[in-house]
Amino acid sequence: MLNYTLRRLLMVIPTLLILVIFAFYLMRLAPGGPFTSERPLPPAVMANVLERYGMDEPLHVQLWTYIKNIICCFDFGPSFAQKDRTVNDVITQGFPVTLTYGFWSAVFVLALGVPLGIIAALRHNGFWDYTMTGLAIFSQIFPNFVLAPLLVLLFTLSWGLLPGGGWNGGQWQYIVMPAIALGTSYMASVARLTRGSMLEVLGSPYIRTARAKGLPERTIILRHALKPALLPTLTYMGPVFVYMITGSVFVDVFFSTGGIGQDFIDGAYSRDYSILLGLAILYAVLTFALTLAVDLLYAWIDPKVRAGLS
């Protein structure tokens, strides 16, 4: 188990390096930069600016300095476009926001998706089953960027129940809509997946045995069927987290929560190398961490996998 974890962690390093090198050269080789503007700077000023940011050196030296600073001092460098902030500032201010509603969104996905899937499986072809199928189709057709305006239209403009954006220190009213907009389609997928595996488990012989023994239905479901039925859902959570990170960029922009997604997009507009690169690394690390956590959890729960690892 420990061995496996270590191996996975070791694999992250080359992957990140590839990502950094690739993104770095992609950005630098492209025409234009953070200091290109309508009115070009005088050459002398430009040279000074470039020197100030260390951009007068050859590319590989800059790359090396960049990587060295991250490893030794956890320093992602200054922002090129926002003169008064460093990338570290951007991350420390924006990341907790993204993480907060991301967490609640994940809670929403699991706390609603799993029970819905189980109920749909227990009431196979019943009302809840059809409701859920409808929900699954709905969520496929209304992705977050269509759903979010609709939510604002209903909850903010029509009923005036929730604020249409902002963060305000993370009061719950400001978290509800971002979390729902981010999570709904995955909630539906989780419900569908849980339903499928629950149906499969309920049809298996050992459940019949449990029924034949005369165990109460509640015990059968909760003690015998639930755990194996949840395994596919758990594996699915890895990709879900990856998609949710993509979605969070949208949520940050749409709801103006002040999360890192907004800075990421702004960085793209202003060609802010360091912001783009720093946030790309952050997103990638977050993805790896979440995927690894899911895999470890999976190994911990599924004895077959655990045996295979050690």
Binding site: T15, M27, G32, Q140, L153, I245, F250, Y283, A284, T287
Partner: protein
């Protein structure tokens, strides 16, 4: 009367016709086609999608305005005068800048459908080819491809998208190119699995014994057998690609003005909905949802018709 029916049933042409039908019905694709046609929702969706395609191609013929022309008569009074109206020719109203929304929605639908129809199939073909090669050859090549696949899936595509779009312009062709690059994994795993299963069959051995090269075996003998997977996968990837494009355009790093796409229109509509100009959100959203609904049911129908497990 009965005599005539009897004569017809006994005639040679009738027998030939029936025999022809039975032989024809053995073909996998004809069979699948018939199953697809029996699925009413799927057939209806094909009709709906055709209407959308016609709308995207010929919609401009019915418009009195071009998609970048500003109607100075309504500018400044958009909330009062800019709504959908038959009188001034703005069927869908005007956008924030006084441009005809109908013409812009036609333009946006064109962009979104075109991106989906080009980028979707091309990325699946790319992924399927890689999957077929890696399933056929196995070994180190397979491991490399699979490793790259795992790493790629672990990176949120938005990172790559935003970085690329920011630095390499935001034209339509760039958009299609970057979507293909992001989606090279589409269909890879499933085609790889199919090829691994098929490559040990007798017909492949026979082809090899006849001296066919590996590539000829893959493209002439294996490809037709995995075509159904590719078709199903393409039908799933196209709506996904349209969604990707719309999301990126919504974020403002997609197609550049004055060109537009459904995502960009949705974003504009969403940003002005507080001013009460709801048609600016409603029409693009309706078209987007229609496209997604029809693509969803077409994909569903194709899966039911083609997947042997569904029968």
């Amino acid at each position: 009367m009965i005599g005539a029916v009897k004569r017809r049933l006994n005639s040679a042409t009738f027998a030939d016709e029936r025999a022809g039908e039975m032989v024809a019905s053995r073909s996998f694709w004809a069979d699948a086609g018939r199953r697809f046609l029996r699925n009413r929702m799927a057939v209806f969706s094909v009709g709906m999608l055709s209407v959308l395609v016609l709308f995207a191609i010929f919609g401009n013929l019915f418009s009195r305005w071009s998609f970048e022309e500003i109607d100075w008569n309504v500018l400044g009074r958009i909330k009062q005068d800019g709504g959908p109206s038959l009188e001034n020719g703005h069927w869908f109203g005007v956008d924030e800048l006084g441009r005809d929304l109908y013409a812009r929605v036609v333009q946006g639908t064109r962009t979104s459908l075109l991106v989906g129809i080009i980028a979707g199939p091309v990325s699946v073909i790319l992924g399927a080819t890689l999957g077929a090669l890696s399933g056929y050859y196995g070994g180190r090549f397979d491991r490399t491809v699979l490793g790259a696949y795992t790493i790629w899936l672990a990176i949120p595509y938005i990172i790559f998208f935003v970085v690329w779009q920011a630095f390499f312009g935001r034209s339509m062709s760039q958009m299609i190119l970057v979507i293909i690059l992001v989606n090279w994994t589409a269909g890879l795993l499933i085609v790889r699995g199919q090829v691994m299963m098929l490559k040990n069959r007798e017909f492949v051995d026979a082809a090899r014994m006849l001296g066919m090269s590996d590539l000829a075996i893959i493209f002439r003998h294996l490809a037709p057998n995995v075509l159904w997977v590719v078709v199903i996968y393409t039908s799933l990837v196209i709506p996904e690609v349209i969604m990707m494009e719309s999301l990126v355009s919504f974020l403002g790093v997609g197609i550049q003005e004055p060109n537009t796409s459904l995502g960009a229109l949705l974003s504009e509509g969403a940003s002005t909905m507080t001013f009460g100009t709801l048609w600016q959100l409603g029409f693009p959203a309706a078209i987007f949802v229609l496209a997604q609904v029809s693509l969803f049911y077409i994909g569903d129908g194709l899966r039911d018709a083609l997947d042997p497990k569904e029968r």
